[in-house]
Structure formats: structure tokens, C-alpha cells
């Protein structure tokens, strides 16, 4: 590695990094230890802390209390539905029916959940909304004003607010379960969650729409001091358990037996038959 750039470009930024890796996360010193953010993985973590504590540490660089990690685990359970109609889960089923590997299936399902409509893909906008809403609220704007001022509208004027409304159904049964879990773990709602509920009241009264799990989760994370990008990263594998279920069931059945389609089950609306020009 001795070549020098022929042009006069300034490359010192890359030269400092070339041929080596600099890390503040940690690593494996062979024969010594696996270090992780100032801890020894095998001495301090294995059998001592929960997986979700380590996940949070690895993702955002902070060791959280067990109670928060347990809340986070519960949040993952909330997206563990073994329902193969759910978009990301069906990818697991389709992978299973074609005998893709379980890792490919779950990765594909997780990737599908990086969506604007649901899953981790909608979390940054949900976080940005509630953080901005609290800022506006502290500046004097009421919850009703926050809803009324929201610029993004759907037909009929319904505000399209990340964290409110939900595909296929209205209401979200998971919020009560998560709130119950938080209380059981001794985790209190903060000002983001309180405002999120206030906004929900307005949304319900005016538009018959409720907060969804993303909205509650975003507010809760914000109260716990997490930034939007940290939340996005923490929840990147959020749906994995449900995909597992759907993959396993399809993979255990005969190939191509999951939800097969006749040719005529596809509604072709394109161009009629025509000859290929020479």
C-alpha cells in the first residue's frame, strides 16, 4: 500500500483511515477479551444482562436499565404477529414455500418492513413529529392547533400524521398492553407520551383516528432520551419474530403450496397480443 495520488487532491481524510479500522465500539483481542463499550462481553454481559440491554448498548452506545430493555422486548413482541397476511410476514411465507434459507427469509421480511406505512421505516417521521409537536406545544401551540396546523392531508382533509391512524384497522390494541407493561416495570410516561395522548384525543374527536403503536413508541422513546435515528436503528429487526413464524409454517409444507395462484388469478390489464417487430 504505497501508491500516492498523482493528482493534487487533498486525501488526508482518507489516508488517515486507509488500511486500518478505528473504533469506539470495541472488538476482539484474541486471547484477552471481547471489549464492548468499556465492558468485557463475556465477563459482564453473558448471564448478567438481557439481550435487549446489549442490543441497545451496541446500537446507541448506552447501557440502559433492565426495566427499559424489558419494555423494548415487549415492544418487539407487539410486532411478532404470526399472520401471513401481514406484508412482511407473507414474504417469510413465500420464502418458505420456495425453500429459501431461514436467514434469507427473515432478512427479506425485515427489509420489507423498512416501509413508510408501518414497521421501523415509519419511526423516524413518528419521532420527528412528536418531538416537533412538544416543541410547538411548549411554545404555546395547543394539541388542537398542532393537529389543525399539520400540513400533510389526505382526502377529506384528514391530517396524515406519523404515529396516528393505521392500515386496515382503526385503533391500536397494542398501546394499552405497552402502557400496562411500562407501568408494571415502573417506567413513567413523560411529556412526549402525555402530549401524544392529548393529540390522540383531538384525532379521535375530529377524525375518528387513534394513535398507533409507532406513535406511542416514538413518544416513549423520546421521553427516554432517544433520538429518531437511534430508534430507527434499535427497531430495525422489529418484525423478525412474525416472519419466523410464517416462514417456518410454509417451509414445513410442500413447496409452492402456500397461497398458490391460477394464471387467471392475475388480472392482466395491459396491451393485447401483438407480433414482435423484426
Amino acid at each position: 500500500m504505497s501508491s500516492l495520488p498523482k493528482q493534487g487532491n487533498e486525501t488526508s481524510f482518507w489516508d488517515q483511515r486507509r488500511g486500518r479500522i478505528l473504533t469506539r465500539k470495541g472488538g476482539w483481542i484474541i486471547g484477552e477479551a471481547v471489549y464492548n463499550h468499556g465492558y468485557s462481553m463475556l465477563d459482564d454481559f453473558v448471564g448478567e444482562v438481557s439481550f435487549f440491554q446489549v442490543l441497545t448498548l451496541n446500537t446507541v452506545g448506552r447501557m440502559v436499565e433492565r426495566s427499559f430493555a424489558d419494555w423494548l422486548e415487549a415492544l418487539f413482541i407487539c410486532l411478532s404477529w404470526p399472520d401471513s397476511r401481514i406484508w412482511c410476514n407473507q414474504i417469510g411465507s413465500l420464502a418458505g414455500t420456495l425453500r429459501a434459507s431461514p436467514v434469507a427469509a427473515v432478512c427479506s421480511g425485515i427489509l420489507a418492513s423498512d416501509a413508510k406505512m408501518y414497521g421501523p421505516g415509519c419511526m423516524t417521521t413518528a419521532c420527528d413529529f412528536i418531538v416537533g409537536a412538544l416543541r410547538d406545544n411548549n411554545a404555546g401551540l395547543s394539541p388542537e392547533g398542532i393537529v389543525d396546523c399539520h400540513p400533510n392531508r389526505r382526502n377529506g382533509g384528514i391530517p396524515v400524521i406519523a404515529g396516528y391512524a393505521r392500515p386496515v384497522a382503526t385503533g391500536d390494541e397494542r398501546i394499552a398492553a405497552m402502557a400496562r407493561t411500562a407501568a408494571k416495570l415502573g417506567l413513567e410516561d413523560g411529556e412526549h407520551v402525555s402530549l401524544a395522548y392529548e393529540i390522540e384525543k383531538i384525532m379521535q374527536a375530529k377524525w375518528d383516528e387513534s394513535m398507533n403503536l409507532a406513535g406511542y413508541g416514538a413518544a416513549f422513546f423520546a421521553d427516554q432520551g432517544f433520538a429518531a435515528q437511534e430508534v430507527y436503528r434499535l427497531l430495525s429487526c422489529w418484525v423478525n419474530s412474525g416472519v419466523h413464524a410464517c416462514y417456518a409454517e410454509a417451509a414445513d409444507q410442500p413447496p409452492e403450496s402456500f397461497f398458490p395462484l391460477h394464471c387467471e388469478d392475475i388480472d392482466y390489464q395491459g396491451k393485447p397480443p401483438r407480433p414482435v417487430p423484426a
Binding site: Q7, N9, E10, T11, F13, W14, G19, R20, I21, L22, T23, R24, K25, G26, G27, I29, A33, Y35, N36, H37, G38, Y39, S40, D43, S101, V103, A104, C107, L111, P167, V168, A169, T170, G171, D172, E173, I175, A176, A179, Y197, Q204, S210, P260, L261, H262, C263, E264, D265, I266, D267, Y268, Q269, G270, K271, P272, P273, R274, P275, V276, A278
Partner: protein
């Protein structure tokens, strides 16, 4: 808290399609089995007739746009498919596939791994999408004027690269010569249109500042002139680069793990605060 029984979960009154619709592909069932297609048509053309009479680039164009390309369009797409066929073994997307390969991943995963990395907002599919939108939004304006506005944005002062607009900027502190040469060649092809010309003029205004075409910008301008929608840009970029990523991965798939660097402790530098 949500305690009002009236706010319980209710299924929305939505109408879902009874059958999935497509305008792209028609499968005519065989007489013996409704699950099997006896004939497949792509936008009305029999796929086997296309296979006999048309090139891959032409059918790729047809698949996305519904009509076969003109000879000039086909030539331009062919140019892009070849020029961008391989991001090269230093590109992070290719390296992802190579890392996976040397660690003995199942080879069917090499391409998805590399293409996932190639989807990013920096030099990836997301930048192609952003670049196509940028070009579309500014095509009616003077390139020099847009460049002036873009250059007014604060430039990173820590030495890292600067993309004043998606698809355009510096790479490793300089102007990347390969996209520059591609841009020059594209500008001479008869199939090029307003976008490549606009991008060329935009780059002229950027060059004195050490900025130029980036790979995603080339693909974006070309795709736009060929009539592809921005939504197609990210995925088509991945498709175009896929052969090189797979080839480099496969090259290492049967090699020992020693065939790629595994940094020693001297070159893997753990900050003191990360150690116990």
C-alpha cells in the same frame, strides 16, 4: 390513555382488489393445468419471440416502459448496462459480497447482500432516485444558476466529500474520472437527451470547485433521458451493477478466509474508552 370502549380496534371499511392487477405480464394458462402458463406475453409480445428477435437491453426497456426502444435508446441503455456493470472490488457494495463470500456464505445470498448495501443514500440506489428528482425539478433552469445555489450550501470542513446535489460531487477529495469519461461519451450518443446535456453543463459549473459527475448522477441522467421514472432509478441502478458484485463475490466463494485481509490488532484500533 386509550380506555374509551368506543375507541376499540375496528376493521376499516376498505375494498381490497379481488385479484392482483398488472399491465406488464400476461400468462395464458395451459389447457391441462390452470396453475401452469402455456404462453407468457410481455406488454403483448410473446416472450419467446422476444428472446429470438430482440436484445436483453431492448426487452429490459420494454419491461419497464411498455414499448420497445428506438435503436438510439437501445444503444444508450446498452452503454449504461456495460459501463456500470461493475462497481469494482473497492466499492463497499462489492466488498460486502466479497466479505460474505470469503466467510463461506451460501452463494445464493451474495447478490442480495451486495445489492442491499448498494441501496444507500451515498453513491447508492437512493442517491440515483434523489438525483433523478433533482434533475427533473431543475431541468428548466439554467445549470450555472442551479450550480451557484447548490454551491452556496456549507461544505464539510473535515475533509469528507461534498455532494452539492444528489449525483454530483467529489469522491475521495477529487473528481471521479470514470463517471466524467462516461458523461463525455454519453453526450456523444445519439440517444442522449436534455438531461445528459443539462448534467454536462451543470458539471462544467462544478468542475472549478473540484466537483463532477458521480456514478449515480450518470445513471440518473441517462435513465431520465430514456424515459424511466425516478421510482425505477434505485432498483435499475442495483440491477445494472449486479453482475460485477456477483462476479467478485463468486471469485472469493471457494477461497480460504485468508484470501482477504483480516486486520491485526495493530491496524484494528480500539479506543481506550471501549476497553475495560
Amino acid at each position: 390513555m386509550t380506555t374509551d370502549p368506543a375507541q376499540q380496534v375496528r376493521k376499516r371499511d376498505m375494498t381490497f382488489a379481488g385479484r392482483t392487477r398488472t399491465e406488464i405480464w400476461q400468462e395464458i394458462p395451459s389447457e391441462e393445468n390452470p396453475y401452469l402458463a402455456g404462453q407468457c406475453r410481455c406488454h403483448g409480445y410473446d416472450i419467446l419471440a422476444l428472446a429470438e428477435k430482440r436484445s436483453f437491453a431492448e426487452v429490459l426497456f420494454l419491461l419497464f416502459q411498455g414499448e420497445l426502444p428506438t435503436p438510439e435508446q437501445a444503444r444508450m441503455l446498452e452503454f449504461l448496462l456495460i459501463a456500470m456493470i461493475n462497481p469494482g472490488p473497492r466499492h463497499p457494495a462489492t466488498r460486502a459480497a466479497m466479505n460474505a463470500a470469503v466467510s463461506k456464505v451460501r452463494t445464493q445470498h451474495l447478490l442480495p447482500i451486495g445489492l442491499s448495501v448498494l441501496g444507500g443514500a451515498h453513491l447508492g440506489g437512493a442517491e440515483v432516485l434523489a438525483s433523478m428528482r433533482f434533475l427533473g425539478a431543475n431541468l428548466e433552469r439554467l445549470p450555472a444558476e442551479v450550480a451557484r445555489e447548490c454551491l452556496a450550501a456549507p461544505r464539510p470542513d473535515d475533509g469528507r466529500d461534498f455532494h452539492p446535489a444528489p449525483g454530483f460531487g467529489s469522491r475521495f477529495g477529487g473528481i471521479d474520472p470514470m463517471p466524467r469519461q462516461m458523461g463525455n461519451l454519453l453526450a456523444t450518443l445519439p440517444g442522449n437527451g436534455d438531461t445528459v446535456a443539462w448534467g454536462t453543463a451543470f458539471v462544467e459549473a462544478l468542475t472549478p470547485h473540484g466537483l463532477g459527475w458521480l456514478g449515480p448522477g450518470i445513471v440518473a441522467a441517462c435513465m431520465r433521458d430514456l424515459g424511466f421514472s425516478p421510482w425505477a432509478g434505485a432498483g435499475l441502478f442495483q440491477l445494472i451493477c449486479a453482475p460485477g458484485i456477483l462476479a467478485h463475490g463468486l471469485e472469493l466463494a471457494d477461497k480460504p478466509i485468508t484470501a482477504m485481509p483480516f486486520l491485526d490488532e495493530e491496524h484494528y484500533v480500539i479506543a481506550a474508552e471501549a476497553r475495560k
